[in-house]
Symmetry: C2
Subunit: 144 residues, 2 copies
């Protein structure tokens, strides 16, 4: 349940020799404050603009890509939906509501060892993606 926090992210930037810019700080703030929402680029962009007077969408994309590739956050890729970002790097299943798009983290019991399973197939796993799609509690209640 390693959730992102601001100081940690900044330290990781320094360690990797990445520059601390107002834009990145604004994006980090947006990421941390919305960590529960699994935010997309648009949300990050809008939030970051409130913090820094100048942030472009291009920069938001570049930064989120940079962070994902550096392993600071995890990118949840979608086809028709905007990509989303997850600050929880521990192994878990994302429960994704088809209707409202809510993403719930579900931590898996220790019994499952995905890396071992894959290794038996002669495949080196660098990344796991486990999503269960369906309907969340709230959407099930709501009519229509």
């Amino acid at each position: 349940m390693r959730k992102i926090n601001k100081e940690n992210l900044i330290n990781q930037l320094k360690e990797k020799g990445l520059k601390i810019t107002p834009q990145r700080l604004a994006i980090i703030d947006a990421l941390v404050e919305n960590r529960h929402a699994h935010p997309g680029a648009t949300l990050i962009y809008n939030e970051a603009r409130k913090k820094a007077n100048r942030v472009s969408l291009s920069t938001v994309y570049a930064t989120l890509k940079e962070f994902s590739e550096s392993g600071l956050i995890k990118q949840l890729e979608f086809d028709r939906m905007e990509n989303r970002y997850d600050g929880d790097l521990s192994e878990h299943i994302n429960l994704i509501c088809k209707r409202c798009g809510t993403i719930i983290d579900y931590h898996i019991p220790a019994t499952l060892e995905p890396k071992d399973i894959a290794r038996k197939a002669g495949f080196v796993v660098t990344d796991t993606r486990m999503e269960f799609h369906g309907y969340c509690r709230d959407c099930l209640k709501r009519p229509d």
Copy 2:
């Protein structure tokens, strides 16, 4: 390990009141013949064109969408990569090579009960997606 086959697909179309057209037959052939490859729309399009004299890309997309929504095949959605289609509807993990795009089916042991896990969270699962990304045996051998 319910792998698609031609007769079965045709029967399912009939059951669902969908029409049997030359285009759909060509697409079915392409799907069945390339079932091991987890083909994308482009491959299906190219293969289907060899069978039927007239098939448009629009039709291929519409048909693959139709088939996926009817549960005949499973759509594997990607962000940057073309979407792929899987004829194996049983629960398994897709091992996806980041370098060559190869997709290997890895059947999970019975111990894992994803549906139950999710149900405990008050979430009705309609769809599971389990992907392990990394490098396949062949790509590991290859230099560069």
